[in-house]
Each structure stands twice: as structure tokens, then as C-alpha cells.
């Protein structure tokens, strides 16, 4: 009678010992994994704080430097002008502040983007008095130097790098002749090609909204300029009485047009996916729509309306939201990443398949203090670095840098 009982007790004790040992080994493995995850470069969130009550900083763009650190181009409030001054900041590869330069207030209005050509970084700004565009270089140590003044080019609005020529495309506004102008500019600051587009006359006033856009005192307008390949370029700007998307070449051919309506129904972001396919974002009377794979007729003389672009209505975004759209690599394949602002003051990322247009995930940042999207890049380790503005204590605009590791990014893309 006692033997089977004793046998059961022995078995129970062996099982208990085995269970305890398994628990210990699992705990040991978890601790080891946790210690491996301490790479401070992979994942972080840093708010660049300044205890001066009167300072405010709003990031424009970010680039990664050769040492793995980050260069952040930002706007700052100055007392000498209603235009924003320039702030250039260097952070190390863990996001820690290294240095920052408040560029002299004679140069104002830094515009998108901070562009990388080889190992050098460039951006455009504006002379505070003459309003002429200035090409600036940003050094890896976080200092800025003037390359040249672009004579006769005033009110710079948006710039991007033309990958085909290694030169810059600059959209600017000619207030005297009421024209939108796109110039191709070399890294030395020489204008190598230029084309003008009539905005229109009469009581259609674009100067006020443009100045409100530049000073931050009004609606932020979705100016864009880029290349669609094969000598075709596009800009999103004022043309023929509306804020429209115009496809053109630097010759005399009639441009193709994707018509908007005033500044109330506009393309807000676009990336060419080859030939006449684009990923786009648009807003119409407050409602934002993402079209991750759209076909647009870019041919000379074509006329279409952006109302015809169908897509996904994103109700959580702010009315007429600013959107930054880029193609990145996630889960080993191309993904369209939309970066914007939500109504409840968060920065958001939406991911879509560039071919099928299928939704692949989303990510939100921020909760207690308000957050606003700035710009983002894919980093050399396959992660993402996003800059935005957060209002510390609900009132001080400060730069926030968010680094997502590749693992974290892949986790958010399904």
C-alpha cells in the first residue's frame, strides 16, 4: 500500500524539481536577451530641451551623418523678422545633443529639404532683406555656411534633389510677375535651367497665403517639386489660379495639369513610383485621402482633376494635414510611408504596399504633450529616424527625434 504512494510522491518531487529548473533556465534566458537589447543607438526618443522661456524650435528635416549621428535643420523664432530664423543641430548616434548653431538672423526661412549630395548636405534659405534665395551647406559638425546667393530668385518655397542630375530643384515665387518659377540649381549655386508658370491676375491673391505659410502665421501650403524621370518634372504650387500639380519639362512644351481648387483641394504629398504611377496624399475641404498607387496622366497638355484620385480617407488626420511621403524598406521590401499629424496631436506613420496599395500597418507617437510631424529618413541600420515638434509643458515648441530600430519598424509593418 505504501510503495505506490511513495512512488507517486517521488515522481511529484522529480516533476517539481524539473519544473523549478526549467523556470530558472527561462529566467536566465530572458535576462540574457534583455542585456542584449541595450544598444542605445537602435531605439530612442529625445526631446531637445532649452530652459529659455522665449525660445522655440520647429524641425524642417533630418539627415544621418557619416558617424551615425544626425543633422537636424530647424526653424526658430527671432525678434528681427516675422520669418523664421535658422537653427542647425547635431546629435550623436544615441540622439544626445552635441552642438547647435543659431545661424545669423540676416538669413531666414529655411525650407524643405536638407539634401545630401555625396558626403555634403545642403539646404535653401532666404536673405531677410532682399528676399533672395541662398544656398547653404550644412557641415557634419552642425555648422552652416553660405554657398551662394541665387541672384534674381526670391521667395524660395520648396527644394528637392534631382537624383538624375545631382542638382537641386527649387520652387520659388516671383512676386513682381505673379509667377511660380522652378529652377534647377547646381551645388555651386548656378541656375542651369528655369521655367516660369503664370499664376493669374485679378483679385486672386497668392502673396498673403504664401507669406502666411512662410511665417507660420497661417495655413501651411503643400509646396512640392520633384522629378518623374525621363526629363519630366512636377511641382505642386500656384498655377492658373489654383494650387495644382503641374508636370513639365525645362523646354517650351505645354505642361500637363492635375487640377486642384484654390488652396482647398490639393495634393499634399507625392512620390513617383516610375513612369506615370505615383503614391499621393491629398486633402479636399479638410478631408485627407491617401492613394498609395495611383496612375496620373503626366503627358504634355493633359488636364485632369485631383478629385479623380480615389484612395483611403484617413479621418484621424488634422484637417488639410501636412504629409511627408517617402518610400522605405520594411520587412525586406519597398513600403510607402506616410508621416502626418493626428487630430489628437500625435505623430503618425501609415504604411502601404507600393504596388497593390494595401494597408500594411501604422504607428503613433506621443500622448501627453502635443506632437507634430516634421520629416523622416530611413537610417543606415534599416530603422527610421523621425523629427517633429513637441510642445513641452504644452507650450514650448521643441525638437523631438524618434529613432525606430529595424526590428521595431518591421513589427509595425504586416
Amino acid at each position: 500500500m505504501r510503495a505506490p504512494v511513495l512512488h507517486s510522491i517521488c515522481l511529484f518531487r522529480v516533476w517539481l524539481l524539473g519544473f523549478a529548473l526549467m523556470g530558472l533556465l527561462a529566467g536566465c534566458k530572458e535576462i540574457k536577451e534583455n542585456n542584449k537589447n541595450t544598444d542605445p543607438k537602435a531605439n530612442f526618443l529625445v526631446i531637445y530641451e532649452n530652459n529659455d522661456f522665449s525660445k522655440s524650435f520647429i524641425p524642417v528635416d533630418i539627415q544621418q551623418t557619416s558617424d551615425g549621428g544626425y543633422l537636424i535643420l530647424a526653424k526658430r523664432r527671432i525678434t528681427e523678422s516675422s520669418f523664421y530664423g535658422i537653427y542647425l543641430m547635431k546629435a550623436d548616434n544615441t540622439g544626445k545633443f552635441v552642438s547647435g548653431e543659431e545661424v545669423m538672423t540676416d538669413i531666414v526661412n529655411p525650407i524643405n529639404n536638407l539634401m545630401k549630395v555625396g558626403n555634403a548636405f545642403y539646404f535653401f534659405a532666404m536673405d531677410r532683406l532682399s528676399l533672395e534665395a541662398k544656398l547653404m551647406s550644412a557641415n557634419e559638425d552642425g555648422t552652416a555656411t553660405e554657398v551662394s546667393t541665387i541672384s534674381g530668385v526670391i521667395y524660395p518655397l520648396y527644394a528637392s534633389l534631382d537624383e538624375n542630375t545631382g542638382q537641386f530643384l527649387l520652387q520659388h515665387y516671383n512676386r513682381d510677375e505673379l509667377k511660380t518659377v522652378v529652377s534647377r540649381i547646381s551645388t555651386a549655386g548656378a541656375v542651369t535651367a528655369q521655367r516660369e508658370f503664370n499664376i493669374g491676375f485679378g483679385d486672386f491673391d497668392v502673396e498673403e497665403p504664401i507669406i502666411d505659410h512662410l511665417t507660420g502665421n497661417g495655413k501651411k501650403l503643400p509646396f512640392l517639386v520633384g522629378s518623374a524621370g525621363s526629363g519630366t518634372y512636377y511641382f505642386n504650387g500656384f498655377y492658373n489660379y489654383t494650387l495644382s500639380t503641374v508636370f513639365f519639362s525645362f523646354n517650351t512644351a505645354t505642361p500637363g495639369l492635375l487640377q486642384g481648387y484654390k488652396d482647398e483641394k490639393c495634393i499634399s504629398a507625392m512620390v513617383n513610383q516610375g513612369s506615370n504611377t505615383f503614391a499621393t496624399a491629398k486633402y479636399a475641404y479638410g478631408t485627407n485621402t491617401f492613394s498609395p498607387h495611383a496612375t496620373i496622366n503626366t503627358a504634355s497638355g493633359s488636364i485632369a482633376s485631383n478629385s479623380d484620385l480615389t484612395g483611403n480617407i484617413i479621418l484621424e488626420l488634422k484637417p488639410d494635414a501636412q504629409v511627408v511621403l517617402k518610400q522605405i524598406i520594411g520587412q525586406g521590401s519597398p513600403v510607402m510611408a506616410y508621416n502626418s499629424d493626428t487630430k489628437n496631436a500625435q505623430i503618425t506613420l501609415y504604411f502601404y504596399d507600393p504596388t497593390s496599395g494595401n494597408f500594411r500597418g501604422s504607428k503613433h507617437f506621443g500622448y501627453s504633450n502635443p506632437y507634430e510631424a516634421g520629416n523622416f529618413i530611413q537610417t543606415s541600420d534599416g530603422g527610421l529616424a523621425l523629427v517633429g515638434t513637441t510642445y513641452v509643458a504644452g507650450r514650448f515648441p521643441r525638437i523631438v527625434l524618434i529613432k525606430m530600430s529595424q526590428d521595431e519598424l518591421n513589427k509595425d509593418i504586416h
Binding site: L17, G27, N37, T38, L45, E49, N51, F53, G100
Partner: protein, 294 residues
């Protein structure tokens, strides 16, 4: 250090297992008239203990959501930990195997560990001294663990009325739950206020901010008092956690905390506990009936 603890735990588990079997064999041999003295020398005791504890969080690597643009040292953003300031409680089942002056003690139980830190941020306008703002964040962190300590106990004097003892051992704890309460106090001179007020209180589940495992060693001392078949004991223990308990992969994952700039440091815990226990001989409880019937 953690590997050493694992090895030590393994050895202690083997000893416990062996001791358990040995006890069983002895109960089988009890019919061969083991002396009453031997009976008292070798036996299991079982009981409960409970008490209060205080925790200190020791930062190993410091993290902050803030990096100063105008103070290169950046030390102003370090969390100020308030050590051993929040009382919590623990409760455990106690199983002791005594052999002469020594005992092996397994004490599975639950323990809440609470630690606290604060951060103060100041803004001022150099050109207008009345424009200032001060925000003080106070974060209270509560961690509930299931713990499995294994202790070696030594009683130098067994025949006195009060029996003193010392004990040393290792433990493995498993996080069951975690909470965080952050209180924000504001002094807003710029808005015309001069006194502090509570502006916000955030309570969040914080289990994902910590890993499940907590290992370390524990040492303590106390006195026991025999009363009838029972033993009453009062003891004080120091618990020394040897691994980082912050989940490094989830450090920035809680949007609600990260948004307000609250990023957890890598920490190890220290804990001082005072417990009261009641123990009874296991043979007295379970096998008394067998004695009578045989």
C-alpha cells in the same frame, strides 16, 4: 553574478530534493524506533510569514527623454530617487527542513516592491524674471512579484528561550503586475500664479516596462520563540537584485509616459523587509494520525 546564482540555486534545489527523499526514508524507518532526539533534530516545519518592506531602486544606466541644448552636462534631467520611502507588504508560505543547527528554507510568496523618483524642470525668460514655469513630476512605481527564495538558515543556540538565527540564500522572482502613478505639480509664474498646484495625475499599467525575471540573493537575521508545538519568529531580510529589471526593448513603448518625457532607467532593486512568521512541525500536522493508527 547571475550565472553564479543560478548554479547556487541548482545546488540548493538538489539538496532540498535529497533532503526530502531522506526525510521520506526516515519516516519509513521510523518503525525501527528512531530516538525522540533524532526526531527533533530532523524534521520539516511548515507555516506562513508576512510583513512590510521598503525598496530602493539603484540606477545602472540613466536615460532621459530630454537632452539639453544649453546645458552640455545634461545632469539636470537625471531622476532623483527617493530610497526606502514607500512601505509595501509581502506574504509567503514557509517550508523548512531542519537538521540540527541548520535548516533549508523554501519560501514561495508574493511581494509588492514600491520605489519612487522625481524630476523637476524649470523654464525662465532671462529678460523677464516673472516669466517662469516649474514642473515637478513624481513617479511611484509598484511591482508585484511571485517570489521563490531558497535559504540556508543557521541557529547557533537551539536550547534557549529565544532562538536567534541568520540566513542566506538566493531567489527567483516572477513579475505578476506593475503599475505607475505619475503626479505633476506646476508652479506657473508666467500665468500669474506663484504657488504650486497638482495639474495632472497619470496612472498606467507598466508591466511591459519590466522584464518578468528578477534574480538575486537575500540575507537576514531574526529570533524565533517556541510556544507549544508552534514557533513564532521575527526576522529582518535584505534582498539584493542582481539583474537589470527594466525591459530594454520596451523602454520607449509606453506612449503615455514617453510623451511626457518619462523614460525608465536601467535599475536593480534593493529591498529591506521585516516579517513575522508562525511555523508548525509538518509531521505533527500531517502524520500524527499515522502515528496513532500504526
Amino acid at each position: 553574478m547571475n550565472r553564479l546564482l543560478i548554479h547556487f540555486s541548482f545546488v540548493l534545489l538538489l539538496i532540498v530534493s535529497h533532503a526530502t527523499f531522506a526525510q521520506n526514508r526516515r519516516s519509513g524507518a521510523r518503525d525501527s524506533r528512531v530516538s525522540q532526539k533524532d526526531f527533533l533534530n530532523k524534521q520539516f516545519w511548515i507555516g506562513f510569514k508576512g510583513g512590510i518592506n521598503y525598496t530602493k531602486a539603484k540606477p545602472i544606466d540613466r536615460y532621459s527623454a530630454f537632452s539639453s541644448m544649453n546645458d552640455p552636462s545634461g545632469n539636470g534631467f537625471d531622476k532623483q530617487y527617493k530610497n526606502y520611502s514607500n512601505m509595501s507588504a509581502q506574504f509567503a508560505l514557509v517550508i523548512n527542513f531542519h537538521y540540527k543547527n541548520f535548516a533549508l528554507s523554501f519560501q514561495p510568496g508574493i511581494r509588492r516592491m514600491t520605489y519612487q523618483y522625481s524630476n523637476t524642470y524649470n523654464w525662465s525668460d532671462p529678460s523677464n524674471p516673472s516669466d517662469y514655469l516649474q514642473q515637478e513630476y513624481k513617479a511611484v512605481n509598484k511591482l508585484d512579484y511571485l517570489e521563490f527564495p531558497l535559504l540556508l538558515k543557521y541557529e547557533p543556540l537551539r536550547h534557549t528561550k529565544l532562538i536567534p538565527f541568520v540566513q542566506l540564500g538566493v531567489y527567483y522572482s516572477r513579475l505578476n503586475n506593475a503599475f505607475k502613478e505619475t503626479t505633476l505639480n506646476v508652479t506657473d509664474g508666467a500665468s500669474g500664479g506663484g504657488s504650486s498646484y497638482e495639474a495632472e495625475k497619470i496612472s498606467v499599467g507598466a508591466k511591459d516596462l519590466y522584464i518578468r525575471s528578477n534574480v538575486g540573493w537575500t540575507a537576514g537575521a531574526g529570533v524565533s520563540y517556541p510556544l507549544g508545538n508552534a514557533r513564532f519568529a521575527l526576522e529582518i531580510n535584505y534582498t539584493h537584485n542582481t539583474n537589470n529589471i527594466t525591459n530594454t526593448a520596451n523602454r520607449y513603448d509606453n506612449d503615455r509616459l514617453t510623451g511626457s518625457g518619462d523614460i525608465p532607467d536601467n535599475i536593480k532593486l534593493r529591498n529591506i523587509s521585516v516579517s513575522f512568521s508562525i511555523l508548525m512541525p509538518l509531521r505533527f500536522i500531517i502524520l500524527k494520525e499515522n502515528y496513532k493508527t500504526e
